[in-house]
């Protein structure tokens, strides 16, 4: 196996590992650009993974699983919205509460319904999103590196993977080319001005967190019934936080968000590959170095070494109408 083969294999792995990050970071993008900080991404992802796995198991249909994942994630988003938009509560506290509720409730319900220690039963093929093989992928695999790249990196993923990459330009278009997007960004920078123009800040922010809920639903579903074949307790394993880091790293912009997620996914894939292999001249590199890199890079960015990250100005501040 030569270096290019290895590289292609790592790229394939990168894509699989980046997808939940891309969905989740885009979810955070919608929410935060409207001025609602969302620490609860992790919890929403976890609950939607659980709901998707349960419904996919019971109905044997992956698409119904996806719908259930989205529904539960949107419901949690509305709870977050109710606490932090309508009642002007602290957005961080509300988000953390969602994370705790999700972490606990998924295990308790899973144990009560299936009796497998919070795990849902293993899904059959029809309950999962299977791999999509592009035409001629198998034939082209052996015809040089480009064919292999086509077969292993571009082809051979499940439908949600392609949806994630489609979600990036769609999010960009919504945020930068529609009236809704313009208002959404404005409400995150200066809600007072939006209010003066006669537009409801509350309703706009609600719509933003619903968008976030839908995208989080996709990421949780991907984890449970596309990448794996069951829900396992705590399966989101901090991906919601990495996605937040990616969002900050990408300075709250959709296309950079995708690249940041791909970078973090690549670091993860590279860490998996490098494990136990020694680098000439250095020896074996601890994989924790690569696993810590996303956080380290984000810290360096926040410290102002790679440009400056400006969060939305009204982020985290509940809007109070003047009276």
């Amino acid at each position: 196996m030569d270096y290019i083969d290895i590289f292609i294999s790592i790229l394939g792995s990168t894509i699989r590992l980046s997808i939940p990050l891309i969905f989740t970071a885009l979810a955070g993008l919608f929410s935060e650009r409207s001025g609602v900080f969302d620490i609860g991404l992790e919890g929403k992802m976890l609950s939607s993974a659980f709901a998707a796995a349960c419904v996919a198991y019971i109905t044997g249909n992956a698409w119904l699983g996806l719908l259930a994942g989205i529904a539960i994630s949107v419901a949690l988003s509305l709870v977050h919205g109710f606490a932090s938009i309508t009642n002007r509560g602290n957005q961080i506290v509300s988000g953390v509460a969602i994370n705790f509720v999700a972490a606990g409730l998924t295990i308790v319900l899973g144990q009560a319904w299936f009796g497998q220690g919070g795990r849902t039963p293993q899904l059959t093929a029809s309950g999962r999103f299977g791999e999509i093989k592009f035409p001629y992928a198998a034939e082209l695999r052996d015809s040089g590196y480009l064919g292999k790249f086509y077969a292993d990196v571009i082809s051979g993923h499940n439908i949600l993977t392609y949806m994630a990459f489609a979600a990036v330009p769609i999010s960009w278009w919504i945020l930068y080319r529609t009236r809704f997007g313009l208002r959404l960004r404005a409400v995150g920078e200066n809600p007072g001005a939006v209010d003066t123009a006669g537009i409801s800040v509350t309703w706009l922010r609600y719509r933003a967190v619903i968008c976030a809920g839908i995208l989080c639903g996709f990421s949780g579903t991907y984890l449970a019934i596309a990448q794996s074949a069951a829900f396992i307790k705590d399966m989101s394993a901090g991906k919601g936080y990495i996605a937040l880091a990616a969002l900050i790293f990408a300075k709250w912009k959709p296309v950079p968000v995708m690249f940041a997620c791909l970078l973090f996914g690549f670091l993860d894939a590279f860490a998996n590959f490098m494990q136990g292999k020694s680098v000439p001249g250095i020896g074996e590199v601890p994989v924790q170095i690569f696993q810590a890199l996303p956080y380290v890079l984000t810290c360096i960015l926040l410290a102002g070494f790679i440009g400056v990250a400006h969060p939305p100005k009204a982020g985290g501040v509940p809007y109070t109408k003047e009276r």
Binding site: M1, I6, S9, S13, Q122, A229, D234, A237, Q288
Partner: protein
């Protein structure tokens, strides 16, 4: 009135003696979760077997973090549970402390050794069992490359890997063995997504048999191998049924036996402290053959693994134990 009081007292006394004759066993699992279809589930099955045979209830606890084990063990001991069985090396220091505090309680520790007069330590010769499945893997591999996915990176798991590697090499001297560990914390036992990704990685490098010694993480390994049409090897419990036709075999570690024996020895007043090492010879470890993997095991493989087993029992094959010197012969 006096009579009823007296009879009540008599009844109370009787029930007290009945309680004293019975035991109150308790079981503390490792952090992978009770139903990991692997290590902890084996322990649970042993306890369940005891319960169905004797009708004696047991209490169990699933610690979710490394700090909860000691609390649980102390809690059971202080409430009068006896014996208290803790499965997982992670509770070594916990047992050491709590066993000193409750000298009259009997403790059983699985997978690690604590030298106390009231502690029985049960360890397994996993390297021998892994050697056997390694032989099968080496013979089943068409590419000459096999993989190993460990859970947490600890000497115990390296011991599995080392035995497996030796077995695979005995079957095919030119074999290449890839190995990956899932992580360095307790979470590594419960991360099937990473397990699956590591497996895909090894498959991309050419491995066509992957052995998972990783608790619930192994479920992801087995799933990915099945998705990609490759073979996998389960661990601790018999996992052949999870993906019939894709799971080559399972390295069975009879944790259920350790738990069952601990409970019944305590009941029959035959409890002994000290170290019990269970290997191939004692049927403490072995490989699983059932209807689900019958078609995968050829007569030659069967013959080779039976010979390897006989050789280990006879002592003509010595499988190197990684934990004896923290290294694996290449």
């Amino acid at each position: 009135m006096k009579k009823t009081l007296l009879s009540l007292l008599a009844m109370a006394a009787m029930s007290a003696t009945a309680l004293a004759a019975d035991i109150k066993p308790a079981l503390v699992y490792g952090t992978g979760g009770k139903f990991d279809k692997s290590f902890n589930e084996a322990a649970f099955n042993g306890a369940e077997k005891f319960k169905t045979e004797t009708g004696i209830e047991f209490r169990d606890f699933e610690p979710t973090g490394d700090t909860q084990g000691e609390q649980a063990i102390r809690n059971f001991a202080s409430k009068g549970y006896n014996p208290v069985v803790a499965v997982s090396f992670a509770w070594t220091s916990a047992i050491e402390k709590v066993a000193a505090e409750f000298p009259d309680t009997k403790f059983v520790l699985v997978d690690s050794v604590v030298d106390k007069p009231n502690v029985r330590s049960v360890v397994y010769n996993e390297h021998e069992g892994s050697y056997l499945v390694g032989v099968l893997a080496g013979m089943a591999s068409k590419t000459g490359k096999v993989g190993f996915i460990g859970g947490m990176d600890i000497p115990l798991i390296r011991k599995f890997e080392c035995g497996y590697e030796q077995g695979a090499r005995a079957a095919n001297p030119k074999i290449e063995v890839f190995q990956n560990m899932t992580g360095t914390t307790g979470a590594a036992w419960n991360d099937p997504v990473r397990g699956g990704e590591l497996t895909k990685n090894q498959i991309d490098q050419g491995a066509d048999v992957v052995y998972a010694a990783a608790g619930a993480t192994g479920l992801g390994v087995l799933q990915t191998a099945a998705d990609n049409g490759k073979l996998s090897i389960g661990v601790d419990s018999n996992q052949n049924y999870l993906h019939p036709g894709s799971v080559l075999t399972s390295m069975v570690k009879r944790v259920d036996l350790a738990v069952y024996n601990a409970f019944s020895d305590a009941k029959n007043d035959k409890f002994t402290a000290g170290v019990q090492a269970l290997g191939v010879k004692e049927d403490g470890v072995g490989w699983a053959l059932d209807d689900n993997n019958k078609s995968l095991i050829t007569p030659e493989m069967q013959a080779a693994v039976d010979k390897a087993k006989a050789d280990i029992i006879a002592g003509t094959v010595k499988v190197h134990d990684y934990m004896s010197d923290n290294s694996c012969p290449k």
